[in-house]
């Protein structure tokens, strides 16, 4: 079964600084990969997804992620964070298997932005 690890429970960065959130997955083949963001009291919003092709994926709100097969990673990056980026971020993996379209989510990384 696939699994997802987000090793950082909580990250604090200064406004305007760069950001990288880590995500490692366990799956035998190339999975489908997703990053979601959850603002307080809200549901999850899709930031970006990777299915195949170019390993650098652009998403909404200025985020990007890079798929690295050799490291089984799909890290999320943003060159300059804004106070509104404070939220919880979830990485998710899906297996390309007809009839089984479930996703497995990581435990999340909470991002705090300081002035």
């Amino acid at each position: 079964a696939q699994s997802v690890t987000q090793p950082d429970i909580h990250i604090t960065v200064s406004e305007g600084a760069s950001l990288e959130l880590r995500c490692n997955y366990s799956y035998g083949a190339t999975p489908y990969l997703f990053w979601y963001v959850q603002s307080p009291g809200q549901g999850l919003q899709l930031l970006l997804k990777y299915f195949s092709g170019d390993t650098l994926v652009q998403g909404i709100k200025g985020f990007e992620a890079e798929f690295k097969r050799s490291q089984s990673s799909f890290n999320l990056r943003k060159p300059s964070v804004h106070w509104s980026d404070a939220a919880e971020y979830f990485c998710a993996v899906g297996r390309p298997n007809f009839g089984n379209e479930k996703l497995t989510f990581g435990t999340g990384t909470r991002l705090t932005i300081i002035p």
């Binding site: 429970i9 489908y32 997703f34 979601y36 009291g41 809200q42 549901g43 999850l44 919003q45 899709l46 997804k49 299915f51 979830f90 899906g94 297996r95 390309p96 298997n97 007809f98 009839g99 089984n100 379209e101 479930k102 996703l103 989510f105 990581g106 435990t107 999340g108």
Partner: protein
């Protein structure tokens, strides 16, 4: 945009009560999901449905059941609520595409407290 609507944002019930959580999506999605979200545990799948009247157990189905009588509506039922079912419940839906794991779209969640 896809809209997933959960009937209640906050709900307080008593131990032993039968509790219904309702979810409606407006995009004709085949797949619907129920998750619970707890601090430090991320999202855990309770049940999902890939068609009307079809359901499959997720990772933590004990104490829950579901109903999908119409394509747009997916109900989560706590047969006899217990305090350990106090949690945030999230509903999601996705388009079925022969295993390509389309992104899931989430509702805003129901925060359920069992007293």
């Amino acid at each position: 945009d896809v809209k997933v609507t959960q009937s209640s944002r906050y709900l307080v019930k008593r131990t032993g009560e039968k509790v219904f959580l309702e979810c409606v999506q407006d995009m004709d999605h085949e797949n619907m999901f129920w998750y619970r979200q707890d601090p430090g545990l991320g999202l855990r799948l309770i049940y999902f449905s890939y068609d009307v009247k079809m359901k499959e157990k997720g990772d933590i189905p004990e104490g829950y059941s579901v109903s999908r009588e119409k394509k747009e509506r997916f109900s989560l039922i706590l047969e006899s609520a217990s305090t350990n079912q106090t949690s945030m419940y999230l509903c999601a839906s996705s388009l079925s595409s022969r295993g390509r794991n389309q992104p899931q779209h989430f509702g805003d969640g129901t925060r359920l407290s069992i007293l």
